[in-house]
Symmetry: C2
């Protein structure tokens, strides 16, 4: 490779791939071996890398050693270590040996599976594996691939919610007329992920038609069906068209769970598309004891769970099931001559290009298939249960400390807590909790994040990194307590 500039490049030499591939496998294995030695949240300053790298691409080849050396000395300091056992921020983004191998295979085969014909195995494995997972989740039959429904891998929950919103929008506009866009109304609780707002922006839903319904501690931040019913009735009276409802199973702020069955009933009787966002908590619902949290999913038009969050499948792998695939394909199909082929024309196959925003797509089902096969359903359930147990233990530790309070009852693996207010001063309490957040995260020993619930700043500890064990959670709690004591002494 080093002398490549003088020759025509042979960029896919199998023996070079073997040699360098082995080297990078060792590099990554060594990374995981030492992952606890890194500062979890990167502490670099904005612009740090600009000074470390040249201003332009090299004219001539450099060596793998040079690049890996730069990864070590220049890139890694700027990495926030999502796979660290001490990463508790946001929600986890699981990686695993199986997921990693699946990514390698997918990158190695290098196919682009937009239409069935461009690699039948990519489309078919995706259909099969999404059916497998639908069965593990005990989803209703109409989400399986055999009828009008089916599953598809999207890049993210944002894309999942966008494509179903477009499908729902166009379905309504086909009868109401395309000039009715300004009448379409979207419903959700104020705990819903910002992905919904973004989807509305992209789909052109008027901001004043987005009903962000208040949820509070009285329902543990779940949406109250009465509020939805009232809002829908008001909008109908005003001549508007209710068309889309997003229900949550495990919100990003506090893992709140909306009452799906009651919401779905209202949606159904008003012909509203009901989307269920279970991006994080969906994974837990493969365990029979947690399946109750998606009870009512049979009333939904679409259901989303991110295998790349808490299901050991490397990002990106967001699983979307729909009841009516034709609503999706009617909104998203194009049929240019250069992509026509016999199987598609004869309507014998699924072409996933018409279920998603992009045309191209990677062979992402491979990694999910490998996770399911190399670990097996029972082991995966225990994996989830272990995280939930660790969170339960932490919840107890928090509740035993008089300086702290648990803010919402923990359901899955997220613990929401804060330092208690002193003299009822909520403002000072918020500042103190933000100070605590800053103090623990800048220690480099762990990374937690925050949210706001009913005006309170709340700290979030989401357990779910693949390497997290009991000792990490205990040590994390110790660091938080120490930093809190220091703040209180100040």
């Amino acid at each position: 490779m080093e002398n490549g500039s003088r020759h025509v490049l042979k960029p896919m030499d199998s023996e070079q791939l073997r040699e360098y591939g082995h080297r990078v496998v060792d590099f990554i294995a060594d990374y995981y071996k030492t992952i606890e030695s890194f500062t979890v949240l990167s502490q670099v300053q904005p612009g740090y890398l600009h000074n470390l790298l040249p201003d332009s691409a090299p004219d001539h080849p450099e060596t793998v050693e040079q690049v890996l050396d730069d990864v070590k000395t220049k890139i890694l300091p700027g990495v926030t270590h999502w796979q660290s056992p001490n990463f508790f921020a946001y929600y986890p983004s699981n990686s695993s040996v199986a997921g990693f191998l699946g990514e390698m295979l997918s990158a190695g085969l290098g196919i682009v599976g937009f239409s069935w014909v461009t690699s039948p195995a990519a489309t078919e494995l995706e259909m099969i594996v999404l059916d497998w997972l639908a069965k593990l989740l005990n989803l209703p039959e109409h989400f399986l691939c055999k009828g009008n429904g089916g599953g598809v891998i999207q890049g993210s929950a944002s894309e999942a919610i966008l494509v179903v919103m477009i499908a729902a929008r166009d379905k309504v506009l086909r009868s109401a007329g395309k000039n009715s866009l300004g009448k379409l109304v979207v419903y959700s609780s104020d705990q819903t992920h910002s992905a919904l707002q973004k989807a509305c922006q992209i789909a052109g839903i008027h901001p004043e038609n987005c009903r962000v319904l208040k949820a509070d501690s009285s329902t543990n931040y779940a949406l109250r069906p009465e509020l939805l019913q009232e809002a829908v009735s008001r909008d109908l009276e005003a001549g508007l068209i209710p068309f889309f409802l997003c229900g949550n199973v495990g919100t990003t702020s506090s893992a709140a769970v909306d009452p799906l069955a009651a919401l779905g009933k209202i949606a159904k009787s008003n012909e509203i598309w009901f989307h269920v966002d279970a991006a994080y908590a969906g994974s837990a619902c493969i365990c029979p004891e947690y399946r109750q949290y998606i009870d009512g999913v049979e009333t939904a038009d679409s259901f989303n769970m991110n295998a790349h969050k808490w299901f050991l499948t490397n990002f990106d792998c967001s699983l979307l099931w729909v009841k009516d695939q034709h609503a999706l394909t009617e909104a998203l199909s194009t049929n240019p001559e250069f992509l026509k082929n016999k199987a598609s024309q004869a309507n014998l196959v699924v072409d996933y290009k018409d279920w998603q925003i992009p045309l191209g797509r990677r062979f992402r089902s491979l990694k999910l298939w490998m996770v399911l096969r190399l670990y097996g359903a029972e082991t995966l359930k225990n994996y989830i249960r272990n995280h939930i147990k660790l969170a339960k233990d932490l919840e107890q530790l928090v509740s035993q400390d008089p300086n702290f309070e648990v803010i919402t009852p923990r359901i899955f693996s997220l613990v929401c807590f804060r330092m208690v207010p002193i003299d009822d001063d909520e403002n000072k309490c918020n500042s103190r909790n933000l100070e605590l957040l800053e103090a623990v995260n800048s220690s480099g020993k762990l990374f937690i994040s925050h949210t706001a619930l009913s005006g309170k700043i709340v700290l979030r500890c989401a357990i779910g990194a693949p390497l997290t064990e009991e000792k990490h959670v205990k040590e994390t709690w110790k660091v938080i307590q120490e930093k809190a004591s220091y703040l209180l002494r100040k």
Copy 2:
């Protein structure tokens, strides 16, 4: 792992990653060693995989050997081998050792870089590497990251065109009022990729406001500026709002190149957002002798080139540059409490989540960086030149055979040709060419695709797979000639 069901799973064991990682590297290296032995276009029947795999996920772990064995015996027969040296369909989707190593590193680090703080290196390397490539392409200064502009990696050209269309739409609607959506008009030639139509569908542009302007052989399928000017004037007179123009450098059908400077002038004087889609041919423009084809790009508001097509960077890696990043972020930003952080709040950093549809994003700049460093700019130019030379040779072979004709003059590495009509019967000629397509592709020896130009079915041979050498092109031409002779004898 095999006994994992009895224990809590340790899914990210570094020594297991090392052992299995090496095994999969060997699997992939062996695949490339034997890639020419596979049928290029998969010949399986729809539904083939359903009968080969179980109906549900296993309860207990299986071994890596079992899975790799299934990949070999069940998946590979259903794979269409995009990396085969005999893959000439659509446009290439390059993989390379460097791109593969970059994907491995990205999957290995397992970060999610939506905001700067979630891994500063991911955002900063992306900015740096996009600047590197902008300089290689000699793009105007305003596309560099230092000012209001900048580059970003999107998943695909479809997403690139969608985000800039949304940005342009919302910019206009902010002044014209959101009820003006029905007045917005989009312009392009009829040779433009279906990604534009899809973006219009998603963005809610009314279908009757999509001006698909006819291009024909008189301009080698480039859009005539007069046609654009006429259409814009007509729409203005009708009280409509021209707002988006897509120009092409290397269309999917025939690699046609629109006259950017002339189109850009019209766009500018009418305040139309001018997007340039150079998804395929943009790569060639790093060579000084091909840079002319993007002359006029300085009049564009956005420019897109897919590094995952012809630039050795594994899918997905679609490079988008914009002149005004604020137009993007105003349309796509959300700012939930749970993502707030000091660096973002202080406006010190770029948060790429606001430049794209999804929230999450992989560390995709790593693979582009590795391609640029391990190969170097000069070698990459020669790589492109070699493919173009091979295409030139094929063009000559075609033009020398009286049974065939070249349909449009070749500019880059795509040769458009067909069997000539007999007795001026165009219909029969079209059928015969489709028969030829079927015959060569079902031989398994190669894969070419087709398009339609002015009603003629045209065969496309796009040279650009990383392993393609002179002998493959010659052999491919021989197969095509043989199958054609057979059809003519019939």
